[in-house]
């Protein structure tokens, strides 16, 4: 009996480890390939005898950056940050209300918010452009950020409401007994406890905005975000340039995720309860 349970225990661990390895390989391989080829010299890349490049150069990346990728990265960061700020500013209060108060029509309202995500972005693209032209928002970063906000908002509301609901109401009540008003209790108690979850939501929002290419391409002409820039400029270029473009796409996102992730983990060191 004891023997077999030990065997089962280690077998389980083995299976889990194997699965983890498969997933990691799955995720990391394309990443590594694009890294390698992004910096591969032109000759190595085209040589049929070389799979893993021997000579490296930063020429491709540099060229892209010089051609406008630098500005596009800046644009993308600006759009992503505005998107996070707006969607959080609008989404957190809504999420809090959903989590902490009982009111009429709460469930149908929630459903409606999720329902908004059903409309394919294609459908609203043309009306959006006409509207933006009228408002003078076309080809502006704010315009893109607003569109991204509308895409991220339902997600932020739903996620933050479940995060806030996960903070026991007695914690806030205790703060209110010991001298804070509801606002104070929110900022001193609920907010710090919700931060890890909100950081995760911020990561998601950032990546969504960072990756979003369709709306960004439709709404901008001269103020391209990075994916829109790459789509229009690099796609006609040789393959190694595409890899370089892919690398430029990935890197800032990776940096952001690493920063946010570190925060996430240190915060979750003291989980709720």
């Amino acid at each position: 009996m004891v023997e077999s349970s030990i065997v089962r225990y280690y077998l389980r661990k083995l299976v889990i480890a194997a699965l983890v390895i498969v997933v990691v390989v799955w995720v990391v391989t394309p990443f590594i390939i694009s890294m390698l080829y992004a910096f591969s010299s032109k000759d190595d890349y085209y040589s049929p005898n070389i799979i893993i490049p021997i000579h490296y150069t930063i020429q491709h990346v540099k060229m892209l950056l010089d051609l406008g990728a630098t500005q596009a990265i800046i644009n993308s960061v600006i759009v992503a940050v505005i998107t996070i700020l707006l969607s959080f500013a609008l989404g957190l209060p809504a999420g809090y209300a959903f989590a902490k108060f009982a009111f009429k029509g709460k469930d149908s309202l929630k459903l409606l918010i999720i329902g908004l995500r059903m409309f394919p972005i294609l459908v609203i693209a043309v009306p959006l452009v006409t509207l933006y032209i009228r408002l003078g928002l076309n080809d502006t970063l704010l315009g893109v950020a607003l569109a991204h906000t509308s895409m991220a908002l339902p997600f932020v509301i739903i996620i933050s409401s479940s995060i806030f609901a996960g903070v026991p109401k007695e914690l806030e009540e205790a703060a209110m007994i010991f001298g804070l008003d509801r606002k104070g209790a929110f900022f001193r108690i609920t907010m710090p406890l919700a931060l890890p979850g909100l950081a995760a939501a911020a990561i998601f929002t950032f990546i969504m905005s960072w990756n979003e290419v369709f709306i960004a391409s439709v709404l901008t002409l001269t103020h391209r975000t990075l994916p829109a820039f790459i789509l229009t400029s690099a796609m006609a270029a040789p393959d190694f340039i595409k890899f370089a473009a892919g690398f430029i796409m990935i890197l800032p996102a990776m940096i952001f995720v690493f920063i946010a992730r570190k925060y996430l983990i240190t915060m979750w060191g003291i989980t709720l309860k």
Binding site: E173, A174, A175, I177, F178, G179, L180, P192, L193
Partner: protein, 375 residues
């Protein structure tokens, strides 16, 4: 330091009535215990007093100040939550210091008070930990410490000792009680532990189903329970109850309990007069039934009943006999350790001066009703 008055408090949650018309006057500096079974509305009552719930009906007064619609922070109350509600993102020290920081105490004063409270609750060595590194009982003590560092007008405690081991609980009881006496804070203490209620309360309010059943000093609650619920809820083992028909002939009162008859002294005549021929509920506590040879010399009026031993609980300090008298079981408590064979016949005496009689319909104590009438 204020007297608290609850006037007709009703609180509903949808269809459930959690608190159903509570009236209670709590004196300045009093230690009052809300005692009752799970779900009877103790926590809800406390939350109404704290201002965390608005009552659907009724008012809460602190002194002559109507606080019914005041937010919690304007009431100057302190509370120990049943779920502790200590903040997971703050160290123990900061949890305890929080109320003081909010009230802008000077730093040294905060430090002094936190250390004092930690000392009192034996958590001094835990001050540097996060709550998730504590056991349930330690967390509970942090919650108590946090509630006592400030000097509130009213201290609300919701089962603050429920998670401590027996030894620590006894110690904490006396510590809390001493503390309360010293700072003379009006204290409302919720528990479903009757020993805690009896030992700590200046008065006890026994609750059931959202209503207060009786308010009184611990000895009053024990000796003169107002109804069947209070009589049954307070005291271990539970009071024996049986139905009996009242027969009054000349000056004699007989309670006919089918298995046996009890002849009551004449004192009971005024109360039982109108129940002649009717059925009442009779109650007697296990400690007021004495086997032969165990009757205290002070017990004068006894009525003897015979039964067979059905079951014996030997607790060491006490022996609990379950006696079968034919169609019912009488539970008898004898102090000290005694041997009884199962199946053997035992004669026991009911102490007639400690008998309780309740109306069969309303379940209200006839004796209590009369005392009330006299007052």
């Amino acid at each position: 330091m204020v007297d608290v008055h609850l006037k007709g408090i009703v609180k509903r949650f949808g269809k459930t009535i959690a608190v159903n018309g509570i009236n209670l006057d709590i004196r300045d500096g009093e230690f009052i215990v809300l005692l009752g079974p799970s779900g009877c509305g103790k926590t809800t009552t406390l939350r109404v007093i704290a201002g965390l719930e608005k009552p659907d009906e009724g008012r809460v007064l602190f002194g002559d100040r109507d606080v019914t619609y005041l937010p919690p922070r304007e009431r100057n109350v302190s509370m120990v939550f049943q779920s502790y509600a200590i903040w997971p993102h703050m160290k123990v020290y900061d949890n305890i210091a929080f109320p003081l920081k909010i009230k802008k105490f000077p730093k040294e004063e905060i430090d002094k008070r936190v250390k004092w409270a930690a000392e009192l609750l034996q958590i001094s060595e835990l001050l540097d930990r996060y709550p998730h590194q504590l056991s349930g009982g330690q967390r509970q003590r942090v919650a108590v410490a946090r509630a006592i560092v400030v000097e509130p007008d009213v201290l609300l405690m919701d089962e603050p000792l429920s998670n401590l081991d027996a030894l620590l609980r006894v110690k904490m009881r006396s510590e809390l009680k001493k503390l309360q006496r010293r700072i003379k804070v009006t204290t409302i203490y919720v528990t479903h532990d009757q020993v805690e209620a009896m030992t700590m309360g200046d008065r006890i309010a026994v609750m059931n189903k959202g209503k207060i059943q009786q308010v009184g000093r611990p000895d009053e609650i024990y000796l003169r329970p107002a109804n069947v619920f209070v009589a049954g809820f307070v005291g271990t083992p539970q009071m024996n109850f049986f139905d009996a028909t009242v027969e009054i002939k000349d000056d004699e009162i007989i309670l006919d309990a089918s298995d046996f008859k009890v002849r009551l002294p004449k004192d009971y005549l005024p109360v039982l007069q109108e129940y002649n021929g009717k059925t009442v509920i009779v109650g007697i506590r296990p400690e007021h039934i004495y086997p032969e040879g165990h009757a205290p010399t002070t017990a004068k009026k006894l009525s003897w009943v015979e039964g067979t031993v059905d079951f014996v609980e030997a607790l060491g300090s006490d022996t609990i006999l379950h006696l079968n008298t034919g169609s019912m079981i009488l539970v008898v408590k004898i102090s000290g350790s005694h041997r009884y064979e199962i199946g053997s016949k035992v004669k026991v005496a009911l102490d007639l001066s400690n008998i309780h009689v309740f109306d069969k319909e309303s379940q209200v104590s006839l004796l209590y009703k009369r005392q009330r009438g006299v007052q």
